[in-house]
């Protein structure tokens, strides 16, 4: 039995278990033990992977399982991991663990909530381990429906609107992705949906153009690239806390990961030719998200736009096509995933106490809820790229990579993207200053209780992950680097 299947099996078993659970205690036990197991398996997988590499296993993908699924179309259930997938799994399991803890005491229909949440995580995990285009698409779709329900039922504010918007836009993205995938399958002549197999075939350039645009835009919608980002602010702000964490921490990464694995890896020539268009969009996205965040007054909107800005940076880095920048992009993926999850977690905690997310309605919360306040500040500082936290490493790697390209377009776009460093500081400090500092003006706010133990555990796990990545980046960057070579070879052919 393949180790990777654990990542799909555990959520599935959780769903079954939850289905038969009949009291709160059992639900809590199942969700907690499931998420802890996931986290442990991810850590275990990391070590297994490092061990395999250490004993000299240089295969491109490890732990491969290949089961024919629908032979008529050469569809296989094909999973396997390289360093990138391993760290994405690690990221996902950390976020799943943290978000389960944050929603630990959700009041309405906890059983159903966690069932859908498990399905959502199964989709994400499956996505990261699949090597077959169809399997990939299957898991991408699998994670879509739960989002719609989770936001539509357990959300707040304009939840129906947001749920519909998110589901429809992401579905639109999926359609484009599907178009790209089928195009790749038919035109490559590989008679296989296997990523590695497809990479060996060259698709005619004029067809690659269409397929690249289609699949990149499709994944761009899922990954919230300007101008396809408009589901992000509404979706994030309406979603319940843990779903917000999951959405921005993992779901948006599905888009970027897919764009890399499918669009860039399989269509390298078109990627080279068309990169400039998307490079401009991505650089603008960075700048745009940051400035928009500056004008927001809702905490979740601020973070949503910050996510757009940071994810724009990620696409920007991918499209530079050099090793350093792409390494940076993956570091940014993990880093942003963790930071934004921490952000949403703390915002959720604040919201559950104040029942408002408008920064103008809050003041001086640091005094009453110091733990949450400190966590929020840490999230802010990490987000603005303070050394010692992961954001710094990721941004620096990206920019070092970006500065390797000397032509005018890259230089100008890099400078535009780099301005976000300052703007990020401005909006983060504005929020921190308004919400946490100052004196409390609302008398009710004096009665708040600080974080409960499960909230603390969730925050601490995230902070440790952020600080760990920020202070020992080499481990992860080496894992990414190991796995980048095939892609780079493909890009340079």
């Amino acid at each position: 039995m393949n180790f990777l299947l654990i990542f799909i099996l555990i959520p599935m078993l959780m769903m079954v278990g939850l289905f038969f659970a009949n009291n709160r205690k059992q639900i809590n036990l199942i969700t907690l033990s499931g998420s802890v197991l996931l986290l442990l398996s991810a850590i275990g997988l990391t070590f297994l992977y490092l061990h395999q590499r250490a004993i000299g296993n240089t295969a491109e993908m490890l732990f491969i399982t290949d089961v024919p699924w629908y032979p008529a179309f050469n569809i296989h259930f094909l999973v396997g991991v390289d360093g990138i997938s391993v760290i994405m799994l690690l990221l996902s399991s950390i976020i799943v663990f943290a978000s389960v803890l944050v929603s630990w005491k959700i009041d309405t229909m906890p059983k159903e909530y966690f069932i859908w949440f498990s399905l959502l995580s199964a989709g994400a995990f499956g996505f990261f381990i699949s090597l077959d285009l169809f399997t990939l698409f299957f898991f991408l779709e699998m994670s879509l429906v739960p989002k719609f329900l989770l936001i539509g039922i357990w959300g707040s504010g304009k939840k129906e609107y947001s749920a519909f918007k998110l589901a429809l836009m992401v579905m639109g993205g999926s359609v484009l992705v599907l178009f790209g995938i089928l195009g790749i399958y038919y035109f490559s002549g590989a008679e296989s949906m296997n990523l590695l197999e497809l990479a060996k075939h060259t698709i005619p350039l004029n067809i690659q153009y269409y397929l690249f645009v289609s699949s990149f835009v499709g994944f761009g919608i899922i990954g919230a690239m300007f101008p396809f980002h408009s589901w992000v602010p509404d979706g994030h702000s309406s979603a319940p806390t843990s779903v917000s964490m999951f959405l921005s921490g993992i779901s948006m990464k599905l888009g970027a990961y897919g764009a890399f694995r499918v669009a860039i890896f399989l269509l390298p020539e078109a990627a080279h030719q068309l990169a400039w268009i998307f490079l401009i969009l991505a650089a603008f996205s960075v700048f745009y998200g940051a400035f928009t965040a500056l004008a927001q007054t809702d905490l979740k909107y601020i973070n949503a736009y910050a996510s757009i800005s940071h994810c724009g940076l990620l696409f920007f880095a991918f499209l530079i096509f050099n090793e350093t920048a792409i390494t940076g992009a993956f570091l940014q993926m993990i880093s942003h995933g963790l930071i934004t999850a921490l952000f949403f977690a703390t915002i959720g905690m604040i919201y559950s106490r104040t029942h408002t997310r408008m920064i103008n309605d809050m003041n001086g919360l640091m005094k009453v809820i110091p733990f949450i306040g400190v966590s929020f500040t840490i999230a802010g500082l990490a987000s603005l790229g303070l050394p010692g936290f992961s954001g710094f490493i990721a941004e620096m790697t990206i920019f070092v990579g970006a500065f390797q390209e000397t032509d005018l377009l890259h230089r100008v776009l890099t400078l535009i993207a780099a301005t976000s460093i300052v703007i990020t500081a401005v909006y983060i400090l504005r929020v921190v200053g308004k919400v946490l500092f100052g004196t409390i003006t609302n008398k009710h706010h004096l009665e708040f209780a600080d974080a409960t133990w499960w909230e603390r555990v969730s925050v601490i796990v995230l902070v440790i992950a952020i600080a760990g990545l920020g202070s020992a980046p080499m481990l992860f960057s080496n894992m990414i680097n190991d796995s980048l070579q095939p892609v780079l070879n493909n890009l340079m052919r």
Binding site: F291, T292, L381, V400, A425
Partner: protein
């Protein structure tokens, strides 16, 4: 010299421990831990200095040591960030300065901050700051420097905003962070460009003076300036931001909202001279590859010195006066570096600048701590709430006076020696520059004594309760720093710190010295006449220059300009329109897809009226038509 690693590790540990336990320990325990750690660090720093300066110059030239180095992050085969410790004359000198001032502030704060809420937090932040600043000065490469540069920035942010319930403090901390961050962006771009063309971050390689390192930039220029000039200018902007050079000086006076010991440590002695240290660190690169920028630094330095000295003459908040004086003195240091050459007598400016950095750190820390003592006694920052305090605060008074004399450049206090070297270097570079510098030195003497008289002489302010001298823990640092201020001038600084590592014997240029002392003496005299006793002279002068005075009091409206740029331009003209664009156009487009779909479906739905007769009609009609079609065609 592996033990130097402890200098960094100990404060970091202290930060982590103090930060984690937060308020679970008694305040005093936290303070003691912090202070003890800092004491050990200071001892280690002194030991390092002693062993380095006594043993490391075989053949009369100081060697560089890298006792510790590890690869931290690898970008590509050539580019990687290392974390390490670089021991050379200036880093050792800075180690001494930072650890000394930090230790003094730690001791001083034990009583000054006593009873404050968040005492442990305060010490945690102080430790964090000490760690970052020490890491900054021993950085082996420019990227490590940037990392610690950011860390000092954030610890400064945290400490300025220590009184987080005070809106001014919060605003000031934000301002400080954002402005330095803005400058750091340029620094960072400079680093990226530099590293791209030189394929290294290492100071060792950069400072080797080897032109092949910079071969990548040869022949490249942009807007008429060579690329190296651009890069070094960008890097200098970063330094200028931290060192509060015009026009990025506005954060420093506001930063005085933080606790006074913090101002002494961060905003007078250590962090704000990081920019000077950066230029000194990269001096060979500036000198050989970007001389135009180096001269630019001199001009910016002198303009800032003049500008802030003028403002300092009009301020009434004693900490703000000191802040402007700090800016002005950093301007002096920048001038020293800007006019310097390489090696031997040409390197006088460099040596002088470092010397001034050293002495300034001591006497400015002393001034701030003294001001803190005064504030502690009268609970106000405003000069008009003081006056006649010399009777109540004798020790503070004496030490403050010593510091004033030192900054005014009166021999034999340390400031005289260091400032005099800068003046000589400036005269050699350009006599006009030198003269202007002497004038600024005179202004310095004037406003410092205005401050001194305003606090300790003039008419006595009626206090609600009689001010009393500060406790011993606060006085000890004052006395220690006063002693250093008195005697530091006699350190043969040229023996230790020069830009080529070789020995340089300081000799005092008598002409320059006498002129500057005379100017200072006259300035002090004028100040004495105007401010020692309460009189109308100053008011009369103010009223005769009322317009000019008003402009100066408002700090030349630079703050207002910044507010205009940020509020009006960034928020109103960029951010708000983009947000509007996002909500209406981008989002509107997406929504319009939905609206159009819904509209279409409603139109189609209109056919399904729900009227049976209509259905029957359509059904029959269609049947008829189809039948007709079948039959007739």
């Amino acid at each position: 010299m592996q033990y130097t690693l402890l200098i960094l590790v100990l404060p970091l540990l202290a930060f982590v421990v103090l930060g984690l336990v937060d308020s679970r320990w008694k305040a005093r325990t936290a303070g003691t831990i912090g202070t003890t750690v800092m004491g050990i660090v200071a001892i280690l720093a002194y030991y390092t200095a002693w062993s380095y300066f006594t043993t490391a110059n075989p053949g009369g030239v100081y060697q560089k040591f890298i006792p510790f180095q590890m690869e931290w992050m690898k970008f590509s085969d050539q580019l990687h960030i290392d974390l390490g410790i670089l021991i050379d004359p200036i880093s050792v000198m800075m180690l001494v300065v930072v650890s000394t001032v930090s230790l003094m502030v730690h001791i001083y704060s034990l009583r000054y901050m006593e009873g404050e809420k968040g005492f442990e937090r305060y010490y945690a932040f102080l430790s964090l700051f000490s760690f970052s600043m020490l890491g900054l000065v021993v950085a082996t490469n420019i990227f490590q420097m940037y990392i610690f540069w950011e860390l000092v920035g954030v610890s400064s942010y945290l400490l300025i905003g220590f009184y987080y319930t005070k809106p001014e403090a919060v605003a000031a901390s934000k301002k400080a962070f954002i402005i330095t961050r803005f400058a750091d962006l340029f620094f960072l771009i400079g680093i990226f460009l530099l590293s791209y063309y030189t394929r290294t971050f290492d100071f060792d390689v950069l400072n080797s003076g080897n032109a092949t390192v910079f071969a990548g930039t040869a022949g490249l220029s942009f807007l008429g300036l060579s690329l190296m000039n651009w890069i070094m200018a960008l890097i200098f902007i970063g330094g200028a931001g931290k060192s509060a050079m015009f026009p990025m000086h506005i954060w420093l006076p506001d930063a005085m909202e933080g606790p006074t010991p913090v101002s002494a440590l961060i905003h007078a002695a250590t962090m704000v001279v990081a920019g000077v240290y950066l230029v000194a660190r990269l001096f060979p690169v500036y000198y050989f590859f970007a001389p135009e920028v180096l001269h630019g630094i001199a001009y910016i330095g002198i303009f800032t010195a003049l500008f802030s000295a003028v403002i300092a003459c009009t301020q009434t908040d004693i900490k703000r006066v000191l802040a402007y004086s700090t800016i002005s003195q950093i301007g002096f240091m920048m001038v020293g570096l800007g006019v310097s050459g390489m090696g031997g007598h040409h390197g006088l400016g460099y040596m002088a600048s470092m010397f001034h950095l050293f002495t300034h750190a001591m006497f400015k820390a002393l001034l701030f701590l003294g001001a803190g003592s005064v504030i502690h006694a009268v609970h106000s920052n405003e000069m008009n709430k003081m006056g006649g305090l010399r009777k109540y605060l004798p020790v503070t008074h004496i030490t403050f006076l010593i510091a004033c004399l030192a900054i005014a450049g009166i021999p034999p206090f340390s400031g005289f020696f260091s400032k005099d070297e800068i003046l000589s270097a400036a005269f050699e570079f350009n006599p006009y520059l030198g003269s202007l510098l002497i004038f600024i030195a005179g202004l310095t003497a004037f406003y410092m004594f205005r401050l001194y008289y305003g606090i300790f002489w003039t008419k006595e302010y009626k206090h609600e309760h009689i001010p009393h001298e500060s406790p011993l823990a606060m006085l000890l640092p004052l006395i220690f720093l006063a002693l250093v201020t008195v005697f530091a001038g006699f350190i043969p600084f040229g023996k230790f710190v020069t830009n080529d590592g070789a020995d340089y014997h300081i000799h005092i240029d008598l002409v320059t010295a006498s002129v500057s002392v005379a100017v200072a003496a006259v300035a002090i005299a004028i100040s004495t006449i105007m401010y020692r006793k309460e009189n109308k002279i100053s008011d009369r002068i103010v009223s005769s220059f009322s317009v000019f005075f008003k402009i100066v009091v408002h700090k030349f409206y630079i703050d207002e300009l910044y507010m205009f740029i940020t509020k009006k331009i960034v928020f109103r003209l960029i951010s708000a329109p983009i947000a509007w664009f996002d909500r209406t156009l981008v989002n509107g487009t997406i929504n319009s897809f939905a609206t159009v779909t819904q509209w279409t479906s409603l139109q189609i739905k209109g056919i399904q009226t729900g009227r049976v007769q209509q259905y029957a009609f359509v059904f029959l009609l269609s049947t008829l038509l189809i039948a007709a079609l079948i039959i007739f065609i």
